[in-house]
Each structure stands twice: as structure tokens, then as C-alpha cells.
């Protein structure tokens, strides 16, 4: 990891952490929060983070750029930062004027752009999964019932082990697709890697949201609690830039077309 990346990560964590702490779960941002928050995000240059360096980006290596997206996923701020990052990248690539202010959705996408956006969502979902795991560990360690912390119950420990395993698998899937993009660029291999990542991560999202809520009990279902910021985001994100069903079919269609005898070589090449 390069020094510049570490500086970007640290400042992004600090700023996004403050913005996330400043928002009230379930309540819209005030006009003042909206204006101040976005101007701080722009000051740091975050909306341009996925642009090439000569177009105003940070020039982060690909893996670090997506690490930054994971950091965005760990902090729900109420701003569509990742969507705006994508909008800037795609506008620049097609010679369109840079968007002004926050962008809710990057608009109509070509195949390569869809793949890139789907991977970006993958990294963001993985970050949100980290946050759900951290929130849940903190909750079960803190909350006491029957005279002991929930974490002392084996049933709770095992549910958390499953949650942590899903999160680990999501990281592996997102990191691998990022590696394929770095190694091969956009194209068929990348589309397949994105399909694999989205299929696996989408499933991790479903399991993690369910386990996170279960382990938080009724508290996590309340509007004031932060947990739902992440779970409701995952319930949207897992079906954006290609739904769960779309991506699993994309992968399955390729596997079935290759057939029985090409199956294993396809596994080792993926």
C-alpha cells in the first residue's frame, strides 16, 4: 500500500466518520448538514477518487481505489458519494461535462460501465458488511441477559461465526474481481469475475442482514438504531447495477455453455 493511499484512507475515515456520527438514523439531513457536509466531501476531492490522476483523481492503484470505496461502505452518511464518484468517472470517459454536486444515480450505462459500477457496489457492500459485523460484535459484548453478556452464549457465538465467515467470503470475492480488473482490464473475464462477486456478495448481504438483526434483537429494528442504515442499504444495493438474479444467470449461462468437460478448467481460470 502506498503512502498517498494511507493518507487518503485516514482522511476519508475521519471525515466520513464525523458525517456518519452527525446524522440521526431515520431522520433526513438538515439543509445545513447537507450543504456543509457535501462541501467538506468536495474539499477533500472524494467525488473524483475513481478518476484517473490526469483527470483530477488521486491516482490510487486500483486495489486502493476500491479499498476507499469499502471505507465509504463502512460509513453511511446520507450522501450519495459512491454514486457521484461513478458519475464523475463515466462523464469524463464519455466527454460529458462533470456533474455539479451530489448525484443520486449515474444514469444509463454501457456494459463495461455497468460492470465497473457493479464492482464498485460490491466493494461498498463489503464495507457495509464490515460495519454490520462490528456493530453486532459490540452489541453482543455489551448487552446482558440472564446475568451474562449475549456473547457468552454458544448459540450467539456460532451465529456470529457464520456472519464473520460471510463477510470474509464477500471480501475475497470483491478483492478477486478487483484483481481481475487490474490484471486483464474490462472484458469477458472481468464480467464473469463481477458476476461471481455480485452473486456471492449478494448472498452474504442477505445472510448478514438477517443475522445482524437477529443478534441485535428488537433494538436493531428501531428507527433510532444505526443497524438499519446498513441493512436497508444492502437490501437496495444487492439488486442495483444488475439484480442478484441477473448476475447469477450471467454466470450460470456461461458455465452451462462451457459444459461438463470445460467446467473445472473454467473454475481454475476464473
Amino acid at each position: 500500500m502506498e503512502d498517498i493511499s494511507q493518507v487518503v484512507f485516514d482522511s476519508a475515515r475521519r471525515l466520513l466518520g464525523e458525517l456518519a456520527d452527525g446524522m440521526t438514523p431515520g431522520a433526513p439531513l438538515s439543509d445545513r448538514q447537507r450543504a456543509d457536509g457535501w462541501s467538506r466531501i468536495e474539499e477533500m476531492g472524494l467525488p473524483l477518487a475513481l478518476m484517473d490522476e490526469d483527470k483530477g483523481g488521486f491516482g490510487l492503484p486500483l486495489a486502493d481505489a476500491f479499498e476507499l470505496v469499502k471505507i465509504c461502505g463502512r460509513h453511511i452518511t446520507g450522501f450519495p458519494l459512491v454514486e457521484t464518484m461513478l458519475a464523475h468517472r463515466f462523464a469524463a470517459a464519455s466527454g460529458k461535462p462533470a456533474p455539479d454536486g451530489p448525484v443520486e444515480a449515474p444514469g444509463e450505462l454501457q456494459t463495461a460501465q455497468r460492470d465497473y459500477a457493479a464492482l464498485t457496489r460490491s466493494a461498498q457492500m463489503t464495507g457495509a458488511l464490515d460495519a454490520i459485523l462490528a456493530l453486532t460484535i459490540a452489541h453482543v459484548s455489551d448487552r446482558r441477559q440472564f446475568g451474562r453478556p449475549l456473547s457468552a452464549f454458544q448459540a450467539v457465538q456460532h451465529s456470529l461465526a457464520v456472519l464473520a465467515s460471510e463477510v470474509a467470503a464477500a471480501h475475497a470475492a470483491a478483492d478477486h474481481a478487483t484483481g481481475v480488473l487490474a490484471q486483464h482490464g474490462e472484458g469477458d473475464a472481468f464480467t464473469l469475475a463481477v458476476g461471481i462477486a455480485r452473486t456471492r456478495i449478494g448472498e452474504a448481504c442477505s445472510k448478514a442482514a438477517s443475522l445482524g438483526h437477529q443478534l441485535h434483537g428488537a433494538m436493531g429494528y428501531a428507527r433510532e438504531h444505526r443497524l438499519h442504515l446498513y441493512t436497508t442499504a444492502l437490501w437496495r444495493w444487492r439488486d442495483e447495477f444488475g439484480t442478484q438474479l441477473f448476475w447469477s444467470r450471467e454466470v450460470g449461462q456461461r458455465v452451462l455453455a462451457a459444459g461438463r468437460d470445460r467446467f473445472w478448467p473454467m473454475v481454475t481460470a476464473a
Binding site: T126, D130, L133, A134, I137, V140, S141, S151, A152, Q154, V156, Q157, H158, L160, A161, V162, A164, S165, V167, A168, A169, H171, A172, A173, D175, H176, G179, Q183, G195, I196, A197, T199, R200, E203, L245, W247, S248, R249, E250, V251, G252, Q253, V255, L256, G259, R260, F263, W264, M266, V267, T268, A270
Partner: protein, 384 residues
């Protein structure tokens, strides 16, 4: 907390060439092997096949040359083992020795033990079995009661029973985990590992234990005043627990933890080939995505092992996710193909499906139960 990551190595020219060579060899060596036989995976036993692997330098690959090894990388060894598993090769005659007994000997053995045994394992001529489980010590391994007492002449007298000992009836050696001082109440203290010659140890008897399919892989091994020579001690007396945990890390880390039912997935794809069914595409896409992700995680474990790190939590995650993936597979196959499982069927899909259904309960038992693995993961999370 820091996320657990699995830094997988990237295929290079050397591993690609090796992979092609292994595939070529397996295609020829296994040409007549039926899908149902391939489904036996690492339970298939064939000394001739193991010798052929040894002759090609594909056993003990990472070990020093002076012990018969090839000094190749962990990734290269990984290529060989995943290719043999995916092809359904009969690997049982060398599997345990290559995977865990050899590395344990390399780490803790005396020079004489290493010289005597490692070259034979690398040649595919030496079969090992695992001496861990007992009738009253399954998941609770520290409860072992088998006991070795040092005699006046330095030799050992062993009494006790080992259970679920795969291929003890074929094995040349066992690494025996037992108590050498104190009582089971001392838990991890006072345990040691001893090298047992399975063919020439008076007082040692092997009884078959058949599984629910009627197959004979397991055994019960009795030690009744069995005598082991003074140089049978492996490693340090009293350090058995640390050593056996290291051995288990090798046992839990490999791709056999998600590839043992791959033959069913291959037959399923064969049965669905040409299908336009959206449900089939989606289900196969899902299985493929799980498999590829598990493989990358498992490669990450191999690369952490090579760096000298202790990836026991990573390995526990891969094994737990892998067992769940493999156990889900038969029901997914049944939901997609309208056919009855039947071991005697001439239809490969039906036969392999029947076999995998019956094999599947073991996936989350062998080499550490699901409950033990989840306990290991929970400890890493700071919960216990």
C-alpha cells in the same frame, strides 16, 4: 476490527505448465475411472497411483531435496492437489502422509526419523493414518486416554484405543497423540506424539468399522501393552498438544474441504447442459460463484501458510463454508433434475447423487466438526 483477508497468489507460467502436465497425466491414468469411483474422492485407495505421483515428483513437493522433496512452492503443491481432487483420483494411499504427517515429521522429527520416512512418502510408498480420535475423545481431543509409559530401557508401553482411524488397515505408520504423564484432567499438559509402525508393533490390533454405506475406511485401533522403541517419540515429550494443533492446521486448510463432492457438480452440469431453464442457470451460477470464491480463499490460506503465518481461523472459515456448500449441493441437484438417487444406477448422475447424499453428513464432522470450527472463529472475534 480488521477484516480477514485471503491474499490469493496469481497463476504464473510455471504453475500453468505444471497444471497442464498434471491434467495430461490424470487424463491418461484415470481414463477408465467411472464417475461413481471418482466421487469417492480422497477415499479412493491405490498404491500404484500414489507411486506414479511420487515418480513424477508430485508428493512432498515443498520439502527439502535431501528428504526426497522438490523444494517447490506451496502454490505449486496446491495446483497438484486440486487437480487430483477435481479429477477424482484415488489419493488415499498418500493423502494423509503428504498433507499432515510428512510436514509434522519435517518440523518435529529427529534427523533419523526424517531420513527414514520422508523420502518414502515422497516416493508414494508410505501410507500414514491419524492417531487422534478415541471413543471418549472426539471434538474434545484433550480428553484422550491412550497412554504411553516410558520403560526402564527407554522404550514405550502403550495402552488404549483409537477410533475412526481412516485406512489404519492399510497404513504403514500412525502419528499417535496420547498421554505420556498425568491424567486426562491435566488436559493439554502431559501429552506427546509418537511414531507407530503399524505393520511391526506387537500388541497393536486393527478392527474394521464400517460406515453407513457399508464401506470400510474407518477402523478401531487397539494398543494392549504395545511396545514402541525409545526413538518413537516425535518432537518433545509433553508438547503433544501444540504439535497436534499444528498438524490439525494442515488437515483443515486444503481444497479437499470443498472439492470432495465436485463430481456431483460435474454430473449436474452434464445433466443440465443445453438447458434453457432460468432456474438452472441461476442455480449453477450461484454454485459456481461459491466454488470459485472458496477456491480463492483456500489459495489465500495456502499462501499464508507458506509465509509462516498461522492461518487457523482462515482455515476454519474455509472448511465451515466449504462443508456447508458441499452439503447444500445434493438438494440443489435434486431440485433441478427429475431423477431418483440410486447407487446401482447406470446413469452417472443418479449414482453420484446417491453416493454424495450418503457421504455428506461426514463433511461437517471429519477434521473438526462445524461446532468446533465456529468456536475457533468466535474466539478470533473476541467472544470467548
Amino acid at each position: 476490527m480488521t477484516p480477514l483477508t485471503f491474499p490469493a497468489p496469481v497463476e504464473n507460467a510455471r504453475t500453468e505448465a505444471l497444471r497442464a502436465e498434471v491434467r495430461g497425466f490424470l487424463a491418461e491414468a484415470l481414463a477408465s475411472r467411472a464417475p461413481l469411483e471418482r466421487a469417492e474422492s480422497w477415499n479412493g485407495f491405490d498404491r500404484g497411483f500414489s507411486r506414479a505421483m511420487g515418480q513424477r515428483g508430485w508428493l512432498g513437493m515443498t520439502w527439502p531435496r535431501r528428504y526426497g522433496g522438490q523444494e517447490r512452492t506451496a502454490f505449486e503443491r496446491y495446483v497438484v492437489i486440486e487437480e487430483t481432487l477435481a479429477a477424482g483420483a484415488p489419493v488415499a494411499a498418500h493423502w494423509i502422509a503428504d498433507r499432515q504427517s510428512g510436514p509434522t515429521l519435517l518440523r518435529y522429527g529427529t534427523e533419523a526419523q526424517k531420513q527414514a520416512i520422508l523420502p518414502r512418502i515422497a516416493a508414494g510408498e508410505c501410507t500414514f493414518c491419524i492417531g487422534m480420535s478415541e471413543p471418549d475423545a472426539g471434538s474434545d481431543l484433550a480428553a484422550v486416554r491412550t497412554r504411553a509409559d516410558r520403560q526402564g530401557d527407554g522404550s514405550w508401553r502403550v495402552n488404549g484405543t483409537k477410533l475412526w482411524t481412516t485406512y489404519a488397515h492399510e497404513a504403514d505408520y500412525m502419528i499417535l497423540f496420547c498421554r505420556t504423564s498425568g491424567t486426562p484432567a491435566d488436559r493439554h499438559e502431559g501429552t506427546s506424539q509418537l511414531l507407530v509402525d503399524m505393520k511391526h508393533t506387537p500388541g497393536l490390533t486393527v478392527f474394521p468399522v464400517h460406515d453407513l454405506m457399508g464401506q470400510h475406511h474407518f477402523n478401531e485401533v487397539h494398543f494392549e501393552d504395545a511396545r514402541l522403541p525409545a526413538d518413537a517419540l516425535l518432537g518433545t515429550e509433553g508438547s503433544g498438544w501444540t504439535q497436534v494443533m499444528g498438524e490439525l492446521a494442515y488437515e483443515r486448510s486444503g481444497p479437499e474441504r470443498f472439492l470432495s463432492s465436485i463430481q456431483l457438480l460435474i454430473e449436474l452440469i452434464g445433466a443440465l447442459q443445453g438447458s434453457e431453464s432460468e432456474a438452472a442457470r441461476s442455480a449453477i451460477g450461484r454454485l459456481f460463484s461459491h466454488l470459485v470464491t472458496l477456491r480463492h480463499m483456500s489459495l489465500g490460506v495456502a499462501s499464508l501458510l507458506e509465509k509462516g503465518e498461522n492461518p487457523s481461523v482462515h482455515a476454519a472459515i474455509v472448511k465451515d463454508l466449504g462443508a456447508t456448500f458441499e452439503q447444500d449441493l445434493p438438494d440443489i441437484a435434486r431440485s433441478l433434475v427429475d431423477a431418483r438417487p440410486d447407487l446401482a444406477s447406470t446413469n452417472d448422475f443418479c449414482a453420484v447423487l446417491a453416493y454424495t447424499i450418503m457421504a455428506s453428513p461426514a463433511f461437517s464432522l471429519r477434521g473438526g466438526t462445524r461446532e468446533i470450527l465456529r468456536g475457533i472463529i468466535a474466539r478470533q472475534l473476541g467472544l470467548r
